[in-house]
Structure formats: C-alpha cells, structure tokens
C-alpha cells in the first residue's frame, strides 16, 4: 500500500550517508591537471575557522573564500608553492596540514622519530631483560616429572 511504500522510502532515505553532502560547488577548470591540483591543495589546506577540517570539507564562509582564491590562482597559473605562500602569509603555517619546518613546528616533525626511537630502545631494553630472566634448562629429574604429568593430563583429556 501507499503508506507502507512511504515508510519504506523514508527508511531508505535515512540510509543515505549524510556525510556525502560535503561541499558541493562547481568550478569549471580549463584542464584536468588544474582540477587535480585543486583537489589536492584544497585537501591540504586547513580551514582557519573550523580547525579540524580542510577547506575542501568545510562549509564555513572563510573556507569557501579560500576555495575561490585557490581556484582563481590556479586558473591564473600560480604554482603550488606560490599558492601555499599566499595562504601562509595571511593565515600562518596553521593553514597547512603539512607545515614547513620551523621553530614552532619542530616538535611536530621530530617527535614521531623520537617516539619511534624511544619505543625501539624500550623494546630492546625489555627483550634484554627477559633473556636474562629466562629459566635455566630443566634437569633430567624435572624433565621426567614433566613428561609424567603431560602423559597423565593427555590421558585424562582424551576420552
């Protein structure tokens, strides 16, 4: 019936992923290469307002402005470096998800290597400690007892 059809339609609609409605804008690029660069740069630039989104995902007005600037500069023939420099001059290294190495971002860049090194050292230390504490090999007496116990256990376990 029509009622149940409506219900089903609504149920199906509710299954549509809302996230798919990110930002829908149309720019007509003069070449596919520019379009590819637009997509990669807009994902690499961070929205200054909604700070955990890139400008491609964000609906904030400032992100839209930056996309327009990005589009215009690409069409005007600017290089990636020039566009990034333009953005950084206005919004600081913050706008890049991969900021350049400077005094403020040094910790960001160096810490993964340091943490990896610390982890490796910790692992080495741990392994070394474990080898020292390994029990000595079994004596003949112990081995005999172990085999007896094993035989006993497997005998019980098997019907």
């Amino acid at each position: 019936m029509s009622v149940s059809r409506t219900v089903i339609l609504w149920a199906l609609l509710s299954l549509l992923p809302l996230a798919a409605w990110g930002v829908i804008e149309t720019y007509s690029f003069s070449s596919a290469e520019l379009e590819a660069r637009y997509h990669s740069l807009s994902q690499e630039l961070r929205c200054p307002k909604c700070q955990n989104q890139n400008i491609a995902d964000s609906n904030a007005p400032i992100a839209r402005d930056l996309r327009v600037v990005l589009y215009e500069q690409l069409e005007a023939g600017a290089s990636d470096d020039e566009i990034l420099a333009f953005m950084v001059a206005r919004y600081g290294e913050f706008v890049r998800y991969r900021p350049g190495l400077d005094r403020n971002t040094a910790v960001l860049w160096v810490s993964p290597a340091l943490l990896l090194l610390a982890g490796a050292l910790g692992l080495l230390w741990h392994l070394k400690g474990r080898r020292v504490s390994l029990p000595a090999a079994l004596t003949a007496q112990e081995r005999e007892k172990l085999e007896r116990l094993m035989a006993q256990t497997s005998g019980e376990a098997d019907p």
Partner: protein, 185 residues
C-alpha cells in the same frame, strides 16, 4: 632495593601530566596572526557612509584600532557599546565592514551609534582575507607607522583592552575614563 628504572613510568607519567595540564590553559582556537609586524595590506575600498575611495593611508597616523565587524555578527553587537566608549575617550577606531550589506550596516550605525572614524567597505571579504581575518569580530592595532602590532579575535572588552591594548594607548583614561571623556570630540 630500588632501582632508578623503577621510576621511569612515574617520570613518564609526570611529564605527560605536566604536558596535559599545560594544554588545559591553551586556547586551541587562538591562531597566531601571520601579519604581525607587517604594514597594513594596501587596499582601495569605498567608505561606508561617504562612498569615498579609501586607501591604507587613511588609517594613518596611528596608533589606531581596526575593528572587523558586520551586522550579521552577534558578538559585534555585544562589543559595540565598549567601542563607543573607547571612541568617546579619543581612541581612533576604523571599521572594516566585513562581508556585509552596506544598507544594513549604515542602519546599524544610525541605530546603535557610530564609534568609527571611517568605515572600509569589504563586501566580498577580499581585504579581510588579505589581513588573515577568519571571522568577526576581530580587532587589530596598528602603530604610528601603520604596521599591524596586535590582533584580538572575539569580543573586545575592558579587561582585554587593559591587558593587551593599553600599551599602545598610553593614557590614564581607562583608569578614570570619565574625567577625560569627550576630550577629543
């Protein structure tokens, strides 16, 4: 017997706790202003009321405030009375009417009072983008030479002014504003 290694986890915990504690007092939305120390970006925009062409020369000589505002911005309404008070006490305030409708903006100034010496119309936000504006209200301080020396994001009020702005406006009017009110009118 206690070995030094036993204290490593404690040390690591203390370091992490210290780091996180410091993180509590950091405002993650505060962005460093990229334009600090640089001259105000050159522009050629209309004045809101007279319609005259303005350039960055109109802001000189400083020190002066450049306040980014819009009628769609609620916090701008909140800080407006404070700006009126500042203007009354002789602080030069220039408005940057950011992505706004000029008709509405003029109405706003008629209804709520006009603290601005001049208002730069920035309908498409291009000048705001050059400045590094990412919302309204924002307030910039420019020095005598027209360089940007401070930026405040959010509502400007007496405590923020006393803390961050006072040094460029070295008068005692904040302490006893009433005595010098209207002096420069």
């Amino acid at each position: 017997m206690l070995r030094a290694e036993r204290f490593l986890p404690l040390l690591a915990f203390a370091l992490l706790a210290g780091l996180l504690y410091k993180g509590l007092s950091i405002d993650p939305t505060a962005l460093p202003a990229a334009r600090l120390g640089q001259p105000f970006p050159p522009f050629l925009q209309k004045e809101l009321i007279s319609g005259d062409e303005l350039t960055e020369q109109a802001l000189l000589p400083g020190p002066a405030l450049v306040n980014v505002w819009a009628t769609w911005c609620y916090s701008c309404r909140v800080e407006h009375p404070f700006l009126l008070g500042l203007a009354e006490r002789g602080v030069a305030i220039f408005g940057l009417n950011y992505k706004d409708d000029s008709v509405k903006a003029r109405d706003w100034l008629v209804q709520l009072g006009n603290p601005y010496r001049l208002n730069i119309v920035d309908e498409d936000g291009a000048l705001g983008l050059d400045l590094g504006v990412y919302g309204a209200p924002e307030t910039y301080v420019i020095d005598e030479a027209g360089r940007i020396v401070h930026r405040h994001v959010g509502v400007l009020d007496a405590s923020v002014f006393a803390r961050d702005f006072q040094r460029w406006f070295p008068t005692d009017w904040v302490a006893d504003g009433v005595s010098s009110a209207g002096e420069q009118r």
